[in-house]
Symmetry: C2
Subunit: 437 residues, 2 copies
Amino acid sequence: MDIPSIKIGIIGLGVVGGGVVEVLRQNADLIALRAAAKIELVRAADLQVEKATAILAQLGLPDVPVSADWREVVSDPQIDIVVELAGGVEMPRQAVSAALANKKTVVTANKDMMASCGGELLRLAEENGADLFFEASVAGGIPIIQAVKESLAANRIRQLMGILNGTSNYILTQMTENGSSFETALAQAQALGYAEADPVNDVEGYDAARKIAILSSIAFNTRINESMVPVEGIGKISDWDITYAKEFGYVIKLLGLAQETEEGVEVRVHPAMIPLSHPLAAVRHSYNAVFVNAFPLEKAMFYGRGAGGLPTASAVLGDVVNAARNIISNGRGRWACTCFLDKAVKPLDETQSKYYIRISAFDRPGVFAAITGELAKQCISIDSVIQKRRLSQESAEIVIITHKVRHKNMALALKKTEGLADVMKVENVIRVEVSLD
Amino acid sequence: MDIPSIKIGIIGLGVVGGGVVEVLRQNADLIALRAAAKIELVRAADLQVEKATAILAQLGLPDVPVSADWREVVSDPQIDIVVELAGGVEMPRQAVSAALANKKTVVTANKDMMASCGGELLRLAEENGADLFFEASVAGGIPIIQAVKESLAANRIRQLMGILNGTSNYILTQMTENGSSFETALAQAQALGYAEADPVNDVEGYDAARKIAILSSIAFNTRINESMVPVEGIGKISDWDITYAKEFGYVIKLLGLAQETEEGVEVRVHPAMIPLSHPLAAVRHSYNAVFVNAFPLEKAMFYGRGAGGLPTASAVLGDVVNAARNIISNGRGRWACTCFLDKAVKPLDETQSKYYIRISAFDRPGVFAAITGELAKQCISIDSVIQKRRLSQESAEIVIITHKVRHKNMALALKKTEGLADVMKVENVIRVEVSLD
């Protein structure tokens, strides 16, 4: 076949890098047809040179040179596309910047980098007439970035709700469906290789925050960095929260949420109760999904594998094929940074949600009136109440779901409630999120 | 803002055309930013000139000239993009061919045309260095064509399973959830405007066949025309089939199915029972969804509104924005026809499925042995059986689910079964489809 050759270099041969090389080999025929070019790996960089060399040899590429220094990849004149799959922020940022300055196309899976300095890198790409693709940085194999940026380009996005972290979704699914404790479910996730030894990024919501930052920047054409996303993890969710959620007809998910309101763009990550009838409620185990509400699209959902070497390689190599098409058709720079606007970001205090509140209290006359009185002072009205579980002879648990209320009012009401004589503790507070109509 | 102007002409100002004009106006600011161009409607064609003129006037465009003749649009030298939203095949085919010959980009929502002569039109586009976009021709607002063609370009698609017709999905949902009869549910769909006065395209599966033809052509890089898709509609589904499906843990959906097997590409449309745990089982009412199983993507699903003026306008205008980006970046012809291969299409007789069979029979000794004997002669083994509903004093209904079997063996076994002395009738036969692992 007489087709051009597009040469790529990979920085970082870990799980995703290995997946990319494997897929490049297994699907070589299809990829060549669809890219209208032979995609050829000509150089790699990885700090563990020997291990990386062994991986390449095992995948039938014993002659591809591997260096510990990324500079050898970004400065290699024969390379058209630099594929950045290393971890962290600073080194990748330097490597990607250098590649773009050399007018090379860059494909990255690095959410940490894109969520902290994506704007800077996209502008650099634009200045150099180069392309920077990052589909794999959000939701692994799910092609949500091209969908939101290109396919939905005529839409005013009203809301994005994403299950963006497979580990925490796996844990919550185990807690919901098998009655596992958080600790047991986390240990299972670690045994299955979903969660890392230090699970903080997954269970504390930082990973999801990076992804919703990247996605909302595209959806609202406004740069949202990771540091602008308030985050709350799933570590405080107890089996009782799971049980009460079921009684109210909800399921608990770790959501990355972004929506446009009259007071600005709202972006946050936290556990939330969502109705069992919501399409996201059926997203189980380690799957990810992004629910989009937009005009004129109405409601849509994108579902799939949010992590793993092979699904992520699907996104990386989809970008490589698109990048190759751009190079061949002389259409580089077709899409650059789309943060044309600078919309206000709404402070967390001003965001509004329904809330679930679980309070342990002494079971004395007037305790319920005292609690609801504190809520009323903050103009918080109550949707439904369960008071049932006896904690001891003299104490019980009160569970309340409120109507929509501002975060600051809820925070103040809870502080006052905790100070009440008969209240033992506000055990947990979880937002209840219902789709926009 | 100092941006170029891209001029479009629309052929066909019906429900989708009206939606496109409305969204162009309402989201003008965002569309201009994202297209990096002002998208300007400068001419329209519609057989009902007065009505079309009134629609445009109502949407704030009283000065856009409307003609009954599509030639005035395709030959207008100022027009960059022709948006074809007329019905039928022959006239649109002529109009699109003429526009492409004039080197104009074409955006179409016309599934009938694309499923019968998409190959010819895409080649014509390629010859003229023009672009032909058709996202709106499959699954309305769901951006499945760009996803399969571009985002998933590195994948070997193993299977596509689609709920591609909102009307029939609405009818089946009403039958399943509210116990409605087919006739009542159809009347409701018509009252809600989902089904047309003549519902044959929707309920007999022809509409879904066109969509799966277009989608499988892209997925398998092989031209599949509508005429190559065996079709079976939902008209024969009875409330008893719905009831038995539930007992077995299934739900009935009208599926467009395409998969690659060693014996060729398999494409078909028919009602099917799918497990309640399958993500497609949760796709209710008039929603559409496409489930994809691919390497290295694994499993993914795309869900949303499959019809309606506004969701379809999302797809049409997403294409217009992409088309504008191609024009501005001189990247036209970036993706052309992707039917590079000419894979064999497997004959229906050779396709394999599990089957549900419902038989009415005289309740005499030996009838069950006789039926299962006929199945055994065709090497059909049985997965599960229900024999319960008494039809009269001397007759009852036998329901069988088989293991996987070739269509031709099943057809032969059923013919023989119908000839058995004690068998009254094979009441219905429905495939049972389980995702590939």
